[in-house]
């Protein structure tokens, strides 16, 4: 316990004194990252590469938001993909049926997601561990079944077809591939920055305390239920953003977006990249998409290859790649200081 307390005091002190500094550093990194990504079309005409980055944006937003639940709060959601699907379907349906400007549809979808997530979250976050995982899974499948059975509204198993209208707004024309690419990058960077702020805020540290010892957090006067519900809704919003990027990219929405395998992939991405570093899920996203793309090119049995890679991470490294690297670096540093 004393070691834990000491560790927490150490991490809390710089939060207060260096919070502003760290925020400037994060914003700077974000600006540089966006500049690099946005200038990519100037150097390469490769549509495949830009497509890859767009897909990384969609999945990266989703996976990083899932890590707010899994890594920071210790809530293993098996149904986080429902908000990815909800984002894609909500956005697609609003654009197809209501002919509103894209930013309006974007905000409206986030609002719908927030309401749905608040209702589902209010039920789920009372439950512990494995029960939480399964009830979120059940809600995901409920939404998936609803999409399949409400064919007149959602297109059933055919998905939302006929394309999503992409009218230009503020000089941005998302029907243009480069515009769509830059918009996706901007959403990704803004989303990551916002999530980083949440994770580093006092609220973010409250979440870590709940993960490490919920009973203690509640003794300290924290409303655990409300904190969990808040992060559940916040994470849902970013997952929904990922779904919207995906819907814009494929110009449609398909039931697979709301199927539980999306959630499974999200968990897998997190494990692959690492859950104890903020950028771990992003690294995992790039790794998984690269892996999927290369393996499917060489063999039709990509399940075996993927499975073996997962086994390597689970049984060999026993942690995600970035976790492994960061631990290795800190060990080297400790060894260096000791000498």
């Amino acid at each position: 316990m004393t070691e834990l307390e000491a560790g927490r005091a150490q991490t809390l002190a710089p939060v207060r004194s260096g919070a502003a500094l760290q925020r400037y550093r994060d914003v700077l990194i974000a600006v540089v990252a966006f500049a690099v990504l946005a200038s990519l079309p100037l150097f390469t005409g490769s549509k495949a590469l830009l497509d890859f980055v767009i897909r990384c944006s969609a999945y990266g937003l989703f996976a990083t938001s899932l890590n707010l639940l899994v890594g920071y709060t210790g809530l293993t959601s098996f149904g986080h993909g429902m908000f990815f699907g909800l984002g894609a379907y909500g956005f697609g349906l609003i654009m197809q049926k209501l002919a509103v400007p894209i930013p309006v549809a974007f905000i409206a979808t986030l609002a719908i997601t927030a309401v749905v997530a608040a209702i589902i979250g209010a039920i789920c976050v009372r439950l512990k561990e494995i029960y939480f995982a399964f009830v979120t899974l059940a809600f995901q499948m409920l939404i998936h079944s609803t999409i399949l059975s409400w064919a007149s509204f959602t297109g059933g198993d055919q998905g939302l077809r006929g394309g999503i209208p992409r009218p230009a707004f503020l000089g941005i024309n998302l029907a243009n591939h480069v515009h769509l690419y830059i918009a996706s990058c901007a959403l990704l960077i803004l989303g990551l920055l916002a999530m980083r702020q949440i994770a580093q805020s006092p609220f973010g540290y409250t979440l870590r305390m709940i993960r490490d010892n919920a009973a203690r957090a509640s003794f300290l006067g924290i409303d655990v239920w409300r904190a969990k519900l808040t992060v559940f809704v916040l994470a849902a919003l970013f997952a929904s953003m990922g779904g919207m990027v995906m819907a814009l990219f494929v110009s449609g929405a398909y039931p697979e977006f709301a199927y539980w395998t999306i959630s499974g992939e999200g968990i897998f991405i997190n494990m692959l990249g690492g859950v104890s570093t903020f950028l771990g899920p992003m690294v995992g996203t790039v790794l998984l998409l690269l892996l999927n793309d290369t393996v499917t090119r060489f063999t039709e049995y990509h399940g075996i290859v993927l499975g073996v890679v997962i086994l390597f991470f689970a049984l060999g490294l026993r942690k995600g790649l970035l976790d492994f690297v960061s631990e290795w670096i800190s060990q080297r540093r400790d060894a260096g200081e000791g000498r």
């Binding site: 899994v70 293993t76 039920i123 009372r126 439950l127 512990k128 561990e129 494995i130 029960y131 399964f134 009830v135 899974l137 059940a138 809600f139 499948m141 409920l142 079944s145 609803t146 399949l148 059975s149 064919a151 059933g156 539980w260 499974g264 968990i267 897998f268 494990m271 859950v275 049995y301 990509h302 399940g303 075996i304 993927l306 499975g307 073996v308 997962i310 086994l311 991470f313 689970a314 049984l315 026993r318």
Partner: protein, 300 residues
Amino acid sequence: MDLDALAGCLSSSACLVTQTTSGFIIGMLLFLVAVGLTLIFGVLKVVNFSHGAFYMFGAYFAMTAYQLTGSFALAMLAGAAGTAILGLVFERVFMSRVYGADVLMQLLVCYAFVLIFDDVVRIIWGPEFKSMGMPSAFQVMPLFIAGGVVPPYYLLLIGVALVAAIVLGIGLSRSRIGKVIRAAAHNPGMVSALGINTGLIYGGVFALGGMLAGLAGALAAPVRSLTPGMGFSVLIESFIVTVIGGMGSILGALIGALLLGLIRSFGSLGFPLFTEGLMYLFMVIVLVSKPTGLFGKEAA
């Protein structure tokens, strides 16, 4: 939605019998899978996400054995024994390495094997749908009960699952091995200190769970089509069963499985497209009102 069809069926004894038996065979197959799942969870504290694969292997083993020997009994034996061995090897070589590790790591190992096993089946038996066909011994006139049609094979299936349920229930509560298993579930350190090989118990329980799932697959083979990935939907449904019944409870698994089977069979009349949705809705309602499931004990 087609509530008229549902009401019409509920008022006709023939339809009632037909739907109830079909609900029971779905339920009994689910029970065999779910009881293995719940047993493994109860003793090893591991959520075996790859359990559906054992169901799938059971079906394929049975089909191959039936095609080679023409004997239905040998097919059942091949399904059950094959998956028992598979379960033992899987537990000793892989799962035993992640005991005590993060729950996510355990899930990940299982998820990896779901992917691997599906592809292995695809390589050995091909990606297309297969069917074992009804064994000749059961190609006889169906029984008519109150006007409802009941194929004799259905009765055999329900009977076998019931026998398994009874043997398992009595075995666990009365026999010496059952007592050791329950003790190991409760306090593995103490059992190990008493000189009992807990590794052996863990392997044995996993093999037993795998065998039950394999038996379910073998029993399902004559009435369902076989395809790589067939374990997936069964896995999700048996998860629902264990969660509804309460993790670790055998009686709960039985009741949960039968309820789910009936929901599926009658739900397919009233809500043809939303049958799956009904199951999830039921699970949500149960868990919201009683988070540990119908027969689950309060978490210690």
